[in-house]
Amino acid sequence: MELSKEKKLWMLERMLQIRRFEEQVYDCFLKNKIPGFAHLYIGEEAVAVGACANLREDDFITSTHRGHGHLLAKGADPDRAMAEIFGRRTGYCLGRGGTMHIADFSLGILGANGIVGGGLPISVGAGWSAKYRGTDQVTVCFFGDGASNQGAFHESVNLASVWNLPVIFVCENNQFGISVHQSRHQKIKDVAVRAKAYDIPGVIVDGMDVLAVYEACREAVERARQGGGPTIVECKTYRFMGHHVGDPGTVYRDKEEVEAWKEKCPIKCFADKLIAEGVMTAAEFEALDKRVTEQMLAAVKFAEESPWPEPEEAMEGLYV
């Protein structure tokens, strides 16, 4: 199916938003403006965007510790996301959550998660609920190759399978759980083969190619919406940065490997393609980039100028 020009440009813009957002987070973190730690999504943008490009506003996602990209792809407001990462009262979670715990329930973003594998069972609940309530909403569950070794992964996929739930399990296989390479944490090379154990479709795509991710997820989303049950979509990808800001990411991977993957930058490749196809001009791309960069600088400004929460506010809102 040929995609509209608008859709392609939307994908490019969203990926660029994520990249520029994360670069600001990195920068601000190094300048000590951001508390805690931050796991950046740089390099993996095509996965979140390709998957979310298939979703409606009332569809759901569950996210991970590396969640900024998922949020923005699903339409979260960069200002409020950045303010949360800065710990400000204007953030999505009033400063209580921070980088690993951002949610926007009005957009179906059921939350990032500090627990590896923590989102998998929740996605199954969202899928069950959609089916139970008789809607055609679907849920995309993002998780890493590392998370696929948690018991929660197996329990969740099994339950989604046997109850035939509208959940798309999107594995972001960036080959590492912190420092541990996939070959040292599981014998399989493709997480998608685990679909077989639960008798559901499992597909493998180039996670650096936003259109490939989009296509694979489109089929899975359509199937789920029509009552066809869950799918595992495994996206082969790579994080360009360390595990979190502060980890140079060099102890366990060599420079050549990182550089080779950077050559496959999902944004650059897609932009080049669109320019070559005449969908946009190089000048238009530059203008877009400039606009997005300014948007993210504005998000930082918004965050920086936002007030800190008052200490006593910590005690508010535990119960309804």
Partner: protein, 328 residues
Amino acid sequence: MREVTYGEAVREALAEEMRRDKMVALIGEDVGPYGGNFGILKGLWEEFGEERVRDTPISEVAIVGAGLGAALTGMRPVVEIMFCDFMGVAGDQLLNQVAKIRYMFGGQVEVPLTIRTTLGGGRSSAAQHSQSLHAIICHVPGIKVVVPGTHEDAKGLLKAAIRDNNPVMVFEHKMMYNKKGFIPEGEYVTPLGQAAVRREGKDLTIVAISSMVYESMALAEELSAKEGIEIEVVDPRTLVPLDEETIINSVRKTGRLVVADEGHETCGFAAEIIRRVVKVGGAFDYLDAPIEVVGTRDVPLPFSPPLENYVIPSKARIEEAVRKVLGY
């Protein structure tokens, strides 16, 4: 004495025990070439090799369970749960397996398993990476619980834990890993179940757990120098078994008690200390003032620094409690 970081003290304990006993092996997430999430294990993988310092998949159930199975069959494993918050993932293995096996099977086996983990807030790690959940393990009989509050103990108690033939869970304070402090020269083992009086005093007892020892000592020195108030600081060092005698004797002497523990105040270990002092120690007869508790306030740990600092206990809050009890 020698100056080391708390993290180095932990590493020394592991290295010494691994040299001493070939059955001691270490498993956990990123414990290998990466040197552990907090970087404190660097050098162990190089010295002992892949078989004895082994990265695991991200599978807390399997990590704890594998440690248990190995302990039941001749090994003396040390397993790591990166943050105690992740204990929940391994909940069944800890609460229903590790804690139960020896007793439930009529004492047939010994379970020489050590589980190391980290507790504590203070670095904006938010709700799932900042908790101090030691009391949960204390609640379930069958696992010894160790909370080293000094550098000396970080090494000595860990060595004792590894040599112990029971399951022992060691909660290290993540904010202390990079702090410098002193440990004795040469080899030493600190026995489990003996509290330490860190500082003698006649006016008030602070029972301080984990990093609260550090805060309480600083406060005690300050109040002594400035106002001549003499505080006795008691560090239980192990919560299970608990040396209640040392605690009770101290409170009997001073007649005033503040308990400082980073666990949540509701159902926290501070509440248990008070129960012991009142019930076992008969404190009704000798307390001169109501007891105060300083702990983490009863909300999930928030991310933003002003919120987090308000919620976790601090020297200032210990001081507030001390003044309240002294002023009664």
